[in-house]
Subunit: 358 residues, 3 copies
């Protein structure tokens, strides 16, 4: 897709200075952009690049006074950064809209119901009684098990696997390699040391506007549903165990794991590589630092936590600092021992302290 | 699949109260079940739901005296929970048995040998000289490399990738996205700072009754075999490096990693996000807490470990508690310093202690 | 593939003792090898196996004096281990060379350009304007998005997903299930608690001679490129966030995560399950121990680090040792308190110290 400076100015209500017919087909940072790219300059720290950039078109703030002439095309708007973000979003929407139709070979069971205007890539598979809403995009190699329901305007990237009976909402984005609905890790120990599988007959429900990162795994419930609520954002390689519930607008960074039956509240932020124990709750608005290990329920909302085991943020940081100073503390204790031993040696009632191991 | 109360009662040797012709097609927890579902009530804590549930059929203990009439169908058995679990297992077996035949398009090399009664999904691939035992189910998009052997009654879920020459036993379940037989991480450092790949020519052997969670990775041995022994259960996103051996009936929770050439004993339990160093052994029956880092061989059997570096459980918990109290300890040392300084200042032989930094 | 002792001796400039016409088709460790396998014995510790091994051919050092006759075929070379390694590498190269041609069904867009002598497996997908260099191997089920460029002599294993516009170099190996170019985890918080997706319009560049382990994920840049430079080796299940740069010949072990916009220097070694915070730099030649959490920029080159938060290696180990001894330190402080209390009780000016909490 190509756009001229004139077309772009129209989209963002800007004013062109220079050649309005010049066209770009991609985006670049001002310090890296090449010929044929659109860039922007909003932060004065980057102004020097304005005069050296190879970008063909640069969006700048209305208020900016140029120090010298520029032989590139400029578009002036009120807020350059926000105009640029708007353009990037529009570009992605346009690119996505071009993706349409059913590529062959693909496998669509006779009982599957596909909405209007969808993309269904080569080697994608839709099992019995699958339903897919309008305007959704199913990339190549996606597996959709029997009776799965997928909403409208949802994008399922290449090689995602969704087991039978799971439910995916509208405006959801699921990145490549994600697995949804695999069996929960449930085994009953037997007397002979072996384990017997506990059947996992529930499903996974992913609500509207959720985004799920590459190769993340979400297990189905034993009974009932593992639920990822509206607006949740999961990063790559996250593990969500059976019967977990993640409430609205919570964001979870990469490689975090949440154990079985735990409930994470609304608007929680969890850093990468964190572990959450099973059967606990995390209150709304909690902030959990990366690499933490949360082993107990967090009842109070809007608090920050850190460490393994996790404590409230300030306690944890105090413990961290004291741990850092442990070698010094040990030295101070050794000095005290020496002094006290001397004091003790000189005292008037010598039998005291003799039972100690000093 | 639909079953009537009469059919279900027959399967679990129960007695029907109410309409024996009513039918269900899925399972639900008593507090969440909807019309058309089977539920159970074994724990008295949940008795209130017995009178309000929307489930069509409820299994209860023989001994339970109802407080009031119920307009649902009841099945009485000796042990309601165990009867329900039996039914769930039977249901899964029946559902799996319905899966049969070879879907097209799929790729089966001329030299591959497929057993009787197998399912081979669309877009699944079986390389040269692959063998698959009777009653196994290969879901869509599975890749099976040359000379791989798969036993009977084994289920390989969608999008699993098994490299050439690996061996998978009977009654194995491998969840979606698992990779078996990728190259071990072996590189020889060169004088110029680059690394030269050490060829990884061994394989992976997965014995009978193993279950492997979604997106887990198991590397092939450099020479010989990486071995996952009978009855082992691996959760999602676990990493097993080259030449590792995991012995019988060991269970390993999600996101744990085991480094090259380490040996994990029988009936070991490893919590999530644990790391095991390379070239060490873990004794039979060890229990390792989540997020631990085990850096040394564990020789004694049946002990518990925790922490990073991991210590025996009680030592680790004692260290954890003392670490938590470090700020208080520091305060006590400060008080002591103050007191000792005063004592020192008053003493009779003043030169003592002058070399200290108090 | 089969090779006779005579053929092997020719390849490694060795001298055959015994039947030069005997043939092998695979490799084995001397203590495990079976009939039809080639083995080697370089380490005297293993000499006993030389007389009991089932291997058909054994490579040994020129200098070795046999204690007794062996009824196997022997090949003598100057350095048995290095000759064996050479053979393993040659074997893999030969095996790879046999893989050729385009398997059907596969999907190659009309505008894709494929080099000479490539392998393109069944169910693999090449989007619009994809280019693939000579001698590259694309295994079954690989997804290659629009405008992706892949170099020559590169191996992409089964089920890898590469999003549009990414660039992969020459002599690269990407293992099964890897995802390259998924959206970075970028969301702008909104006033109502929801998050708005920040479009991720950059790409990923993987330079020559990189190897990437199974199910690893590498996100595309927001703008510009996420870059994995020449000779980098990534293990399994590694997470590389958007706009990260990993410089030449750096090796990163399994399950490590690197957060957005961080820069890892040349010849860095990072242990498994390590976390690197966002927007920091790691100096060339750094060594970071497994399970570390690096939260600050490392400026000085060639230093070792450990712990979470990570300190230089010796500080970290000193802190670890002191932490281990915390219960003993607490005991010492308690003894001191007792002694000082007694000393204080006996002193001449009793009001001192009364304000303390002893």
């Amino acid at each position: 897709m190509q756009f001229t400076a004139a077309q772009i100015a129209l989209m963002i209500q800007g004013i062109v200075e220079g050649d309005a017919s010049i066209a770009i087909s991609s985006f670049g940072k001002i310090e890296e952009a090449v010929n044929g790219q659109l860039s922007f300059m909003a932060n004065p720290k980057y102004e020097e690049y304005l005069y050296t950039t190879q970008a063909s078109i640069i969006i700048i703030n209305d208020s900016l006074e140029l120090k010298t002439g520029i032989n590139k095309t400029i578009i002036r708007v009120k807020d350059a950064y926000s105009a640029f973000a708007t353009l990037m979003t529009k570009y992605q929407e346009l690119a996505a809209k071009q993706l349409k139709g059913i590529q062959e070979p693909s496998y669509i069971s006779a009982s599957a119901q596909l909405g209007n205007n969808i993309y269904f890539g080569a080697f994608a598979y839709a099992g019995e009684q699958v339903t897919i809403g309008n305007d959704s995009k199913i990339y190549p190699g996606v597996f959709i098990g029997d009776r799965v329901k997928i909403g409208s305007n949802t994008i399922i990237h290449a090689g995602v696997k969704i087991y039978n009976d799971c439910v995916i909402g509208d405006h959801v984005i699921i990145h490549a390699g994600v697995v949804i609905g695999s069996d929960g890790f449930g085994f009953a120990p037997q007397a002979d040391g072996t384990y017997k599988k506990v059947p996992q007959l529930g499903n996974v429900i992913v609500e509207n506007e959720v985004e799920i990162g590459a190769n993340t795994t979400i297990d189905r419930a034993t009974m009932g549903s593992t639920v990822i609520k509206k607006g949740v954002k999961l990063d790559n390689l996250v593990q969500i165990a059976h019967n977990v519930e993640v409430d609205e607008n919570t964001v979870i960074a990469a490689q975090t794991g949440i154990s079985g039956s735990s409930k994470v509240g609304k608007n929680v932020q969890i850093g990468g590589q964190t572990g959450i124990s099973g059967h606990i709750s995390i209150a709304d608005g909690s902030k959990i630092n990366g690499k933490s290990g949360v082993t107990k329920t967090i009842k109070e909302s809007n608090k920050s936590f850190n460490g393994n085991p996790a404590y409230d943020f300030s306690t944890s940081k105090r413990i961290e600092a004291h741990t850092r100073n442990l070698p010094a503390l040990e030295k101070r204790v050794k000095e005290l021992e020496k002094l006290v031993e001397q004091l003790n040696a000189e005292r008037l009632i010598p039998k005291l302290g003799q039972k100690t191991s000093l």
